[in-house]
């Protein structure tokens, strides 16, 4: 037993590795899982993730949840932690775009105009969820363009049958065929999801800017390794994985 403990202490000590806890937005689920594996393989750390809507993670962090790194899907859920002193500094590491998805084989949605057609079942994220906020801004942009009617946003929002707590739940409702359409990030249309949904293009002019900030928690007991994780995410290998999962590079 004692020999085992010594061995354990040695392996942990020599590698300078740590158990890292990363709180990350739901939309980062696939990309960060892969990044975590690559990071751990190179450094010997053991990184575990808690994926949820950024707003949930923010609430948990303000209520004292212990984490080393926080990666949020927008500044609105990140900056209050900066101002509150929980996080020392933040850097944008990725950007994203919105996409409209509809069940594969479904005929209810062919163009953006269909989103506002009465009787359509539309699922979006809640206003407090970054993607939900971006969705509402996109609807406003579509309405303001004039080509789809000035009241597009109001008509589309009337079609909303559910406001979900995170983007993966939004995508799930369409992949199960429950809803006619949903608004998610381009990066959420993963190879798995692509088997059950079709994407309707959302032109760039209707896409509000979506940036992902990341930062190390001030209370992190593994600040050094946490900083290394952030560097890895922003470095070439992290950016390659993010691009693979549909994210745009940081500006």
């Amino acid at each position: 037993m004692r020999r085992l403990l010594v061995l354990l202490a040695l392996t942990l000590g020599t590698a300078g590795a740590a158990n890292l806890t990363v709180f990350a937005a739901s939309s980062l689920t696939d990309a960060f899982t892969e990044i975590g594996r690559a990071f751990d393989a190179g450094t010997g750390n053991r990184t575990t993730f808690s994926f949820a809507g950024s707003q949930v993670l923010r609430t948990q962090l303000t209520q004292g949840a212990r984490a080393d790194v926080f990666a949020s899907a927008n500044a609105a859920q990140f900056d209050p932690l900066l101002e509150g002193g929980l996080i020392a500094s933040g850097q944008v590491f990725a950007r994203n775009r919105l996409a409209v998805i509809t069940p594969r084989g479904g005929t209810a949605v062919r163009t953006l105009a269909d989103l506002a057609r009465p009787g359509l079942k539309l699922v979006i994220a809640e206003r407090g969820v970054p993607v939900g906020e971006a969705t509402r801004r996109a609807f406003d942009l579509i309405g303001a363009s004039g080509s789809y009617g000035a009241d597009f946003a109001a008509r589309a929002l009337r079609n909303v049958v559910s406001e979900e707590p995170n983007v993966r739940q939004v995508a799930l409702k369409v992949s199960l065929g429950q809803a006619d359409a949903a608004v998610v990030y381009v990066s959420d249309v993963t190879p798995t999801l692509r088997r059950s949904v079709r994407t309707v293009a959302l032109p760039p002019r209707f896409n509000p800017p979506v940036s992902y900030p990341v930062g190390v928690l001030r209370a992190s007991p593994n600040a050094e390794q946490a900083q290394a994780f952030v560097r890895f995410v922003r470095g070439p290998e992290g950016q390659r994985i993010l691009r693979k999962w549909g994210f745009l590079p940081a500006p």
Partner: protein
């Protein structure tokens, strides 16, 4: 009268404190100065209304359909009775999210019954009816169990005597069986209602979450946690008060029964 040993006393106090402190913290925050204005905010009122309506409907359905099931299970011998009895308890031990998936695969738009229903013009997905189904699915077994115990709690000879005295089957049921089983039925109804009120996972998955329509109190608490803590705290405090009311009612009913 000997003084109790200090060890169990200290351990009991520790556990009691552990169980009660979070409740106290919740009530202290939830019942704060802005309790009333928050209680009267649309977010909270909508959630309370949706929960009241859906749990009311779920309870009515459970009573109407669960009572005969419990009666037959308690009084009749038929092939497969034990199996059916066990199967009907199943939703009680299933994780709610599993119940949600099961309901989706059955009543969802592409589900077994969902597709024909959709063709017939009935769309359950994201409707308050879906909330009710989720609640009945997860709470009816609690009622059936209690009701079964109620029908087994007295001698069937009492009913036979009533029939000998000329009472028809309905009169016997209404005048003899029901009153005798009533404390059990009430207890089951209270439990089932409380379970419906707390239903979260199956509802979120199967019925979605739309303010004023399918967003019940637990879903509203979950939703509010993401932006504004105040409604979540007030609704949580309301749930604590309701839950305590339920437990208190159960004690009273048990007293009547005993």
């Amino acid at each position: 009268m000997t003084r109790p040993h200090p060890v169990p006393v200290v351990l009991s106090l520790g556990l009691a404190a552990f169980l009660l402190l979070p409740v106290a913290a919740l009530l202290a925050r939830g019942l704060g100065a802005d309790f009333l204005p928050t209680l009267l905010s649309p977010v909270v009122l909508d959630a309370l209304r949706v929960s009241a309506v859906t749990t009311g409907a779920a309870l009515a359905l459970t009573l109407a359909l669960g009572t005969p099931v419990a009666y037959l299970l308690a009084r009749r011998r038929f092939p497969g009775r034990t199996l059916l009895d066990a199967l009907l308890d199943l939703p009680m031990v299933l994780p709610p999210v599993v119940a949600g998936v099961a309901l989706l695969l059955t009543f969802g738009r592409t589900g077994w019954l969902g597709r024909p229903l959709e063709l017939a013009g009935v769309s359950l997905a994201f409707s308050p009816a879906a909330v009710v189904l989720a609640q009945v699915f997860t709470s009816a077994p609690f009622y059936i169990r209690a009701a079964k115990a109620g029908f087994l709690a007295f001698d069937p000879d009492v009913e036979a005597a009533a029939r000998v005295d000329g009472a028809g089957p309905w009169a016997t049921f209404a005048r003899v069986t029901l009153p005798l089983a009533l404390p059990f039925l009430l207890e089951g109804a209270v439990l089932a209602w409380a379970r419906s009120l707390g239903e979260f996972g199956a509802t979120l998955l199967f019925a979605g979450s739309l303010p004023g329509r399918t967003r019940t109190v637990p879903l509203a608490i979950y939703g509010a946690l993401e932006s504004d803590l105040a409604p979540a705290l007030v609704l949580s405090a309301v749930m604590v008060v309701l839950a305590f009311g339920v437990l208190f009612a159960l004690r009273a009913l048990a007293g009547r029964r005993g």
